[in-house]
Amino acid sequence: MRIALFATCIVDAMYPETAKSTVKILERLGHEVIFPKAQACCGQMHMNSGYMPEALPVVENHINAFDTEDYDVAVAPSGSCVASVKHQHPFLAERLGKPELKERAKAVGARTYELTQLLVDVLGITNAAEQLGSYFPETITYHPSCHGMRSLGLGDRQLDLLKTVGGITVNELPEADQCCGFGGTFSIKNADVSSAMLEDKVKNICSTGASACSGGDASCLMHIGGGLSRTGAKPKTLHLADILASTMEETVSL
């Protein structure tokens, strides 16, 4: 399959390894990965902050970048950005009275997948060790990010795949379905409430005894990691793409 990678702005700029891991996993399965260079960001930060006219060029850019390229499906290592592409882009177009853009947004959204959605639903991956060669000899816990869990309805796809990684131990995270408090600019505008939510998430992660907390969204992991780091807690954060890409030969270190 020809797969277009939507790296997402945060992964592109802050966590390039996660995008490389995504490419590795897909290439390992024999697919061709392309990276449409015109892409930048899904525009979620602008929309969720209420800056709709400012969001428009960002959203239009994404749609232009992804409906002109030749590919079978697009994939992003993020539930949140995919949910934005699928749901928020048509909503913004509707809200700003752009019916043609809305149709194009819906078409792009329909063939954009979150990484585990693509792996499980389209590519039929159910055992990461056997089918991807994934190996990661650490004890981890897993935080299901809200937009993947609720907007995309990912269910246990991410957790189930992580559990099948070779050498891994996955400890259950108490109150896993509770938001970490990131919420984009929510963490700035309502920093106190956000911090109170993060405090509980950090406490729960530490209670698992894991050496890392994994998840499917770099932004939430940056938030959680920032809290763990500030409190001097031992666990690190690591995107699930990095764990799935890790092998016996090239094992990712924490």
């Binding site: 592109d12 209420g50 408090g181 309502n190």
Partner: protein, 490 residues
């Protein structure tokens, strides 16, 4: 066809306002550790109960869809439904009053009570009368209103404000309740303990006299059925049944959005509401009344149909489904923000996720600090998932943030830091080559990090982030550049 713009319908009045920006109110409430403990305990136990009883129904999603569809249809034909209800309610001996806003509704109710000669009324728990500040208004007119719902009684005796739409005293624990009873009840056992049964007994003894003496009761309604002219109240304690049957005069204040088309619709909502609100399969008391029944129950039956901003909310095509709310409170029980700040932080009668959209929709976003309410959410979506009528609260929150920014755009003489960040971001993230250009400066960001490769302090509006979180040093090279170097050059 020529369209005549008639202007935005009037905004709601009364207790619908956030008086200070939400982050400021939240900061204060977050410091109340006892309240946070009480609230965590209470919301978590209601959550678990709800999940259990919802999980029992194989057709829960179909029920949610039905609830949502019935409400949407009802809202789309609201005018006809209301007129149909008026006709049927009147035909059965009831009297219908129409109130544009809180002031009109308060005046209508006051005049009706005056007309009976009563100076005391008993009340069934009602959000509409909280919204319009009816108790305070009646008091200023020399009429005492006694709340008969246990939690409302606690709030009223404690001269407090409700902090939850279903469990108004959720922020108090039972020891605090006992202390309020000991201090405020005229006749009370001085050895009262904080055992729930003893507290309920004290409230029962206190209220029984009121029920038997009252000539007038005031209620809200969970629904009105257009095709039969029936009103319904769903409750747990039986205080509602007492108020709805014993007095001579019954006055109901109901928001116009509560009308349902058909008698049959009750079936759907009686499955959705108790499970979503108290986590029960069925609530203990459901009272339905259709006008006046001779020699049985109140002989003077009135309803005040309240707009107070509802027409305004209905005119907002991206926000109108907020009117589908059946006041079950599931959204606040699952909300991580509400759990930590409590209901008082929202200012309005309607707290939590539904309040964060409903209050500004009813009043207009630019009134008081209601523009800060839609930001009181991390957009985690737990509210939407729990809502029995599938109100897409996160989407409406985002829509209202857009309304807020647009309203403020015109007022700001100088752009705020957020404005600058968003405008700069719009350029930077609007083209692949722009973000690519900025990413060339990533190594510079590494200079801001300490030896441990962490950024610990950011300036300006981002300072809130680094109060409790580090940021990792950025990488030397973006993915984009890596791709160009490694993939494209080969």
């Amino acid at each position: 066809m020529t369209q005549v713009f008639l202007g935005m319908p009037a905004g709601g009045q009364g207790n619908l306002f956030e008086q200070e920006p939400f982050p400021k109110a939240a900061h204060r409430e977050l410091g109340n550790t006892q309240m946070r403990k009480n609230l965590r305990h209470a919301t978590h136990s209601i959550r678990d109960k709800r999940l259990k009883v919802v999980g029992e129904l194989p057709d829960w999603e179909a029920l949610r869809n039905a609830g949502s569809t019935i409400k949407n249809n009802s809202m789309a034909t609201l005018e006809e439904r209301l007129l149909e209800f008026e006709k049927n309610f009147t035909a059965r001996g009831g009297v219908v009053h129409w109130a544009r806003d809180a002031d009109e509704a308060n005046k209508i109710v006051t005049d009706l009570v005056r007309g009976t000669g009563a100076t005391e009324v008993v009340k069934v728990k009602s959000m509409a009368t909280q919204e319009i500040g009816l108790n305070e208004h009646l008091e200023s007119e020399g009429i005492d209103a006694f709340e008969t719902d246990l939690a409302e009684l606690i709030v009223q005796l404690g001269q407090d404000k409700p902090s939850h739409i279903l469990v108004p005293a959720i922020h108090k624990n039972r020891t605090e309740v006992r202390d309020i009873f000991l201090k405020e009840m005229p006749v009370v056992d001085p050895n009262l303990t904080d055992e729930p049964a003893k507290l309920a007994e004290a409230a029962r003894a206190h209220l029984r006299k009121k029920f038997l003496a009252a000539k007038v009761a005031i209620s809200g309604a969970n629904f009105a059925l257009a095709d039969t002219g029936t009103l319904g109240v769903v409750e747990s304690e039986g205080n509602g049944r007492m108020c709805l049957t014993l007095p001579e005069t019954l006055i109901t204040v109901m928001g116009i959005e509560k009308v349902l088309p058909h008698w049959e619709d009750v079936e759907v909502f009686m499955q959705l509401l108790p499970r979503s609100s108290t986590g029960e399969r069925m609530n203990p008391y459901t009272s339905l009344w259709t006008g006046v029944t001779e020699d049985d129950g109140p002989q003077n039956v009135h309803i005040v149909l309240l707009d107070n901003g509802r027409t305004r909310a209905l005119a907002d095509r991206f926000g109108r489904t907020a009117l589908n709310c059946i006041r079950c409170s599931a959204c606040m029980n699952v909300c991580p923000v509400y759990e930590r700040t409590g209901g008082h932080a929202y200012g309005s009668t309607y707290p939590g996720p539904i309040g964060a959209i409903l209050s500004p929709l009813l009043t207009g976003i630019e009134v008081e600090e209601n523009g800060s309410l839609p930001y009181a959410s991390s957009l985690c979506g737990a509210c939407y998932e729990a809502c029995p009528v599938k109100i897409n609260i996160p989407e409406i929150l985002v829509h209202l943030r857009g309304e807020d920014v647009d309203a403020k755009r015109e007022k700001h003489k100088l752009p705020t830091q957020m404005d600058l960040l968003m405008k700069g971001g719009s350029w930077a993230l609007g083209k692949g080559k722009n973000i690519g250009l900025l990413e060339k400066a990533l190594p510079l960001g590494r200079l801001a990090a300490g030896k441990d490769k962490k950024i610990k302090k950011l300036p300006g509006i981002a300072a809130g982030w680094t109060k409790s979180r580090d940021i990792p040093a950025p990488p030397n090279k973006s993915f984009r550049d890596w791709w160009s170097d490694e993939k494209e050059s080969k």
